[in-house]
């Protein structure tokens, strides 16, 4: 592959001389970092989707461990009845922060890491449509994540990850924990929305020539659908959080029943977001599995159009079932029935996917690599979680299960056995792409089996606990309820699961540093990301490939002659690369300051009580950054890769 020599020449636009001046930021406030700048500056100011993807992944793994430690503390407390390892308040903070961390800071950004890194390569593009906006998404995610974890040093939120009003209003939650939670989620929402507009535009507009929509890899399809879910679901929670914030700080009564407010409205608005959110977590996972299974069965995906369509169908239906989280709040017969039946319908498109995955295995040549093992584990465990979901969709059954440990079992089966297993599958599968190094197979398999065993030991007993009447979110329980043994097993399993996840993360870090180098296409894979160097050059492809078939890389190796294709024309003036920029990060920093200042509104921040000024300064930084960002333009330089 291209051993590219890169020459930097000024952007040649042919139109005006302004472009040829040295690339400096507006007002020359900060030098716009150039190629060959210090690595730290390079990473902070990068607009390269691959570096951004790696940072998303690194932060996500970090927060996976943070959320995991929180989970293990939860389980340690529940090991024995009437245990006092943690206080009630701390326990309540732990499960709130655990849920929030795992969903918003671990699984979503891990998905985003692969969207960023792999989706772009899969469509044969050089970068996203708006590279600086992409960097802004990353840094805003970091800002939100840091903000919510800072809350541990003051007061962490203790209202559950769905923050039901009125418990989350000032009357019942007077501390600043709720404010940390509200503002962090708002900032994380900005990050997710910005990233999603970017991905939608990129996928629709920037595919390689010949890559029709129905030739796109399924992972790219799921990225597209997930991005749509994000832009259509997040507004609901944003507005709900705004209303809650007004209740807490500006004296309104949106959720105060004594003034005619309806706490139930919070639940509706939250779940209008919340249910699509769970598909936001799982669809990318399904996309990963749809890449891994064909590769290691050495067969194309069975029923590709159906898998794609069922993904879209799941996404669409996902907006029509939110009240299945509210079967016990007294909705009335018609609404309850409608939401119950709609929920059941989702089993059909999901089933279609599972059947087609099995169809993919059928008649293949199955290579038992680590990523394959994780994907198979995914199918099996996710299916089980899906089935308990179907139990929940039946109203009378859910009347017993709602808010019990059965629900905790359901969603950990879909979230760990589902999302997390698939994400680890993705990590092991794509690590050679991202680092140019192979993960160790033996250790990978050992980790998988530890995880698989620990996971089932931790969460299977929770089904039984739920049916035996143990409510979730209780920091303690009496010893004579018949729950003791299962809780002990469960805690033991959680610790084993923790070891499994920890060991896998260690392997990731180890591989990154010292892994065994590998060639360009170690898995004999199918899709476009494997048609370039490991890791890819800054510009991804020296020449944008032309696409004549669904699995182009496979077709090039083994396909019919008419399906094969070569790289397209070289760019006449070299490849245009956008410049690095400071402003995405400074804009996110402004956002962070606004958030922090608002959390500390009327409070004292480290001895400083001008927190309102902090909001203004943060807002100023944000605004100024946006202006400077707009004025500096993408700019860029040209690269002339030596042909391969």
């Amino acid at each position: 592959m291209a051993n590219g020599t890169t020459t930097t020449i000024p952007h040649d636009s042919g139109h005006d001389a302004e472009h040829d001046k040295p690339q400096r930021s507006f007002f020359r406030l900060v030098q716009r970092p150039q190629q060959g700048c210090h690595p730290v500056i390079d990473w902070l100011t990068t607009v390269d989707h691959k570096k951004i993807g790696i940072m998303y992944g690194a932060f996500a793994l970090l927060f996976l461990l943070v959320g995991g430690v929180e989970a293990l503390m939860i389980r340690a407390q529940l090991f024995l009845p009437e245990n006092d390892f943690v206080t009630a308040r701390l326990y309540n903070q732990l499960f709130t922060m655990h849920g929030t961390t795992m969903i918003f800071l671990a699984v979503m950004p891990l998905n985003a890491a692969f969207f960023n890194y792999m989706m772009i390569l899969q469509i044969g593009a050089r970068d996203v449509a708006f590279p600086r906006l992409n960097a802004f998404s990353l840094w805003s995610f970091v800002a939100g994540a840091v903000l919510i974890n800072l809350s541990w040093f003051w007061e962490a939120f203790h209202g559950g990850w769905f923050g039901y009003a009125p418990l989350s209003t000032k009357d019942y939650n007077p501390g600043m924990g709720a404010d940390f939670w509200i503002l962090s989620l708002q900032i994380l929402g900005v990050a997710s929305l910005a990233a999603s507009f970017n991905f939608i535009t990129t996928i629709l507009n920037m595919r390689a020539p010949g890559l029709k929509m129905m030739r796109m890899p399924v992972f790219t399809w799921m990225t597209l659908i997930t991005s749509f879910l994000i832009i259509l679901a997040f507004p609901a929670i944003t507005i709900a959080l705004v209303e809650l914030m007004f209740d807490r700080h500006f004296g309104t009564h949106f959720f105060d029943a004594t003034f005619g407010g309806k706490p139930i409205l919070w639940q509706h608005l939250f779940w209008i977001f919340g249910h699509p959110e769970v598909y936001i977590l799982i669809l990318p996972a399904m996309g990963i599995v749809s890449e891994v299974l064909p590769t290691f069965s050495r067969k194309p995906l069975f029923g590709y159009p159906l898998i794609v369509m069922s993904g879209a169908f799941i996404g669409f239906l996902g907006f029509a079932v939110w009240s299945h989280h509210m079967f016990t709040v007294g909705l009335g017969v018609v609404a309850t029935t409608a939401f119950s039946l709609m929920t059941m319908l989702i089993a059909i498109p999901t089933g279609v996917k599972i059947f087609n995955w099995i169809g993919t295995l059928w008649g293949g040549k199955i290579h038992f690599t680590t990523p394959m093992l994780y994907s198979l584990g995914f199918i099996w465990m996710f299916m089980m979680g899906g089935f308990t979901g179907i139990m929940h969709s039946s109203v009378p059954v859910d009347h017993q299960q709602q808010d019990s440990y059965f629900v905790v079992a359901h969603f950990h089966y879909v979230l760990i056995g589902g999302a997390l297993f698939a994400l680890f599958s993705g990590i092991y599968y794509w690590m050679p792409k991202m680092s140019g190094k192979l993960m160790n197979e033996t250790w990978g398999k050992i980790s998988f089996w530890i995880m698989f065993f620990g996971f089932n030991l931790a969460f299977f007993p929770m089904h039984l606990l739920g049916m035996a009447g143990m409510p979730r979110r209780t920091h303690t329980y009496l010893g004579d309820m018949g729950w003791n043994e299962w809780n002990m097993w469960s805690t033991a399993g959680a610790m084993i699961l923790g070891v499994g996840i920890g060991s896998a993360v260690v392997q990731v870090v180890y591989t990154w540093a010292k892994g065994k180098k590998c060639g360009m296409d170690p898995w004999d894979a199918r899709t476009l990301e494997w048609a370039t160097a490991n890791p890819p050059k800054d510009y991804n492809f020296a020449r944008i490939p032309e696409i004549n078939a669904r699995d182009q890389v496979w077709a090039n190796k083994y396909g019919k002659p008419e399906e094969k294709s070569g790289p397209g024309e070289p760019e006449p003036h070299g490849i245009h690369m956008p410049d690095r920029s400071w402003y995405p990060m400074s804009a996110s920093f402004g956002l962070f300051m606004v958030g922090l200042g608002m959390v500390f509104h009327k409070q004292n921040f480290l001895g400083w009580d001008h927190t309102l000024e902090m909001v203004y300064i943060g807002g100023g930084i944000l605004l100024l950054s946006i202006y400077l960002w707009a004025l500096e333009g993408p700019r860029g330089y040209h690269v002339h890769p030596e042909e391969d």
Binding site: D171, I231, T258, G260, L265, H268, F319, A320
Partner: protein
Amino acid sequence: MSETTRKPNFSPASKKTIEGESTRFFTFFNVILTLIGLTFLELILIILPFHEYVLLTGLIVLSIIKFGLVIWYFMHLRWDQIFLTALFMLGLILASGTVAALYLLFPAGESAANKEAPAAQSGAH
């Protein structure tokens, strides 16, 4: 080009564009006249002696027409790729569906404030 436009660097637009945009110029005026007319109709509706539901339907139809006129002409959907219309409709339909479903989920006049809630009576927090 004139004195003031000398600094920004614009080449003359093609003849076709200029012709097209000039035709649109009049379309835009027709649209705004219709919009203003419809708004007047909305205001007149208030004083008409029809049944509430008739008026309500009228109001909704009128706003949908106005809405449509703006996105179709002012926002150029008429002249742009159909894909953009589909994209926007996705959001619009989902949003309207959600508004409608939510609205129907809350029965009229059933709030605590109208009924002297038990919470209010007991006086506790």
